[in-house]
């Protein structure tokens, strides 16, 4: 078997997936929590109207945030602490396959977390959307992996495992609540809206809400630009925290 980039990436991704599959404490909350929340607030407690569709857009972002922040943040912190990361760096594995495999596994888990929500929305919440909208929404939701993973990476590079767990949880909850993923940000007082505007989760949710044409005026291009800028900033932050490792 000869060394190929794809081969290394496949093996690294397999290792990531295997590790996660063997970690129910990661898998269960990541996959089951978002759909359970969505079932409660989006399907059972909302009676018709647009709530099921609105919350599908925002809980999709919420579902992607879990694997991204915890997989990258807590995972990387642990690997760094155990020296596993150092061993990888000493081994002839390109750094990009390490990140690539983590991204691949995170995207897989994000998709696994998203699909039950979509099924609940469609088959229990009565959400109907054109195929192109379903597909676009899914891609928008998956794209949230990138900024959140970079934030997770920065956390993982900066804190010990215990610290990373705490920080990732704070980020996770504040992004979810203040980002308007659980309750529409339109309910917030003005000062809170100002904070919302600083969070990528808010702008990602606004893009998803534009895709499903939720009530309200939005400019998707504006939010996409903000998300792109925030992603670049997160990439710079992750790069800086990575370089501090040496």
């Amino acid at each position: 078997m000869s060394r190929t980039y794809a081969g290394i990436l496949a093996a690294e991704t397999g290792a990531e997936l295997t590790q996660s599959f063997r970690a129910p404490e990661f898998l269960l909350p990541t996959l089951a929590l978002p759909v359970a929340f969505y079932m409660m607030f989006g399907v059972l407690m909302s009676r018709g109207g647009g709530a099921a569709t609105y919350l599908l857009a925002t809980y999709g972002i919420f579902a992607v945030m879990g694997p991204s922040l915890f997989g990258f943040g807590v995972g990387v912190a642990g690997e760094r602490e155990r020296g596993w990361l150092e061993l990888k760096r000493a081994a002839p594995a390109p750094a990009s396959t390490f990140i690539g495999a983590k991204l691949g596994a995170t995207i897989a888990f994000a998709a696994m977390a998203l699909m039950p929500i979509y099924a609940a929305a469609a088959f229990m919440g009565g959400v109907e959307l054109p195929k192109t909208v379903w597909l676009t929404l899914f891609l928008v939701h998956l794209s949230a992996v990138f900024p959140f993973s970079l934030i997770g990476l920065s956390i993982g590079f900066s804190f010990s495992t215990n610290g990373a767990v705490a920080i990732a949880n704070i980020v996770f909850l504040s992004f979810a609540v203040i980002g308007g993923l659980w309750f529409p940000a339109t309910f917030f007082p003005g000062w809170m809206v100002a904070i919302s505007n600083a969070l990528p989760s808010f702008h990602l949710a606004e893009i998803a809400l534009t895709v499903v044409d939720a009530p309200g005026d939005r400019i998707a291009g504006f939010h996409a630009t903000v998300v792109a800028g925030m992603t670049l900033a997160c990439a710079a932050l992750a790069g800086w925290t990575w370089s501090r490792q040496r």
């Binding site: 078997m1 000869s2 060394r3 081969g7 290394i8 496949a10 093996a11 690294e12 397999g14 290792a15 295997t18 590790q19 063997r22 970690a23 690997e79 155990r82 020296g83 596993w84 150092e86 061993l87 760096r89 000493a90 081994a91 002839p92 594995a93 390109p94 040496r246």
Partner: protein, 311 residues
């Protein structure tokens, strides 16, 4: 596959596996490595010996490209340290490094084997490292010794020309330690160059062609085990006697004296001179034994000298 290793050309014709020039590394005000020059030719088992904090691990991390040197340079297998070419020819077992807890030994080997264009056969490595009994157990559930052996196996998977073993037998029981030694000797016999750090002198003595003694980041000795022993010269005299260490130090040529119960150990420059004086001082000397100093004793002596020099 193993035969490929067996047909290595004469190691002395290969370029140096490690070529460190004026290698220094500081951490703030602390000097971890201080102008180290080290040339390790292929085919050697080279032991880096030193107390904790002497700079052994810093040297290894620099050689692996994990730490950039503050000044100087280090080349590995003729390539810059940390370059992909250098990493491809290198096997690594680091101190304080755990593998992935959720994966089995076989899975870790599979992962690392994907990094190499011509990796060793996984089953063969499992056999060689003697980890067959727990090759399919998750790493988390293994004992400390078993974990070290799995790490050793991972270091071998790329059929490395150069193997870095940072404290490879720490935490192992005697049998396991001997098994690792056997492995190291076998690899060396096949032409694999090995850089080994240890603070077990016994280990260095048992394995090394060459011992590099590090103290406070500096190479204070670099030679064969025998030569280092010889450099310390003299002899060790043991006997049962009533003479106190204080009295013994007054005897001619005595460098050090130590006493456990009635057993007195003297380190001296020239055995016959000291022996005469000793027998004069206590005619009832019993169980007299004169030996060459062990490496440990030599090392203690070297370190003491260096410390004095430094201060």
């Amino acid at each position: 596959m193993m035969s490929a290793m067996d047909t290595h050309t004469d190691p002395r014709q290969l370029p140096a596996v490690i070529e460190a020039q004026d290698l220094s590394r500081r951490f703030g005000d602390t000097v971890a490595l201080d102008a180290v020059d080290l040339h390790v030719p292929a085919g050697q088992i080279c032991t880096l010996l030193g107390r904790n904090g002497a700079g052994k691990t810093t040297f290894i991390r620099c050689a692996l490209g994990l730490l950039p040197p503050t000044t100087g340079s280090v080349k590995v297998l003729g390539e810059p340290a940390g370059s992909m070419a250098a990493r491809l020819g290198t096997g690594v077992m680091l101190q304080d490094t755990d593998l992935s807890e959720a994966l089995t030994a076989r899975e870790q080997l599979a992962l690392f084997s994907s990094y190499y264009s011509d990796p060793a056969d996984i089953d063969a490595v499992i056999e060689e490292a003697d980890i067959g009994n727990f090759a399919d157990t998750r790493y988390k559930k293994l004992s400390g010794g078993q974990k070290r052996r799995v790490q050793f196996a991972v270091a071998l998977i790329g059929k490395p020309r150069l193997l870095f073993l940072d404290e490879p037998t720490t935490g192992l029981d005697t049998d396991a330690r001997r098994a690792v030694w056997d492995n190291v000797r076998r690899l060396a016999a096949r032409g694999t160059s090995i850089i080994l750090t240890t603070h077990y002198l016994e280990e260095a003595d048992a394995l090394a062609d060459r011992i590099v003694v590090l103290a406070q980041g500096r190479v204070i000795a670099d030679d064969t085990a025998a030569a280092i022993r010889a450099r310390t010269g003299g002899a060790i005299i043991r006997c049962r006697t009533s003479i106190t260490p204080e009295q013994a130090l007054a005897l001619p040529g005595v460098r050090a004296a130590d006493r456990h119960g009635r057993l007195l150990t003297l380190s001296c420059e020239h055995a016959p001179t000291t022996l005469r004086a000793l027998l004069d001082a206590d005619p009832d000397v019993d169980d007299l034994e004169v030996t060459k100093p062990t490496l440990e004793q030599a090392f203690t002596a070297l370190s003491a000298v260096t410390t004095e020099d430094a201060s």
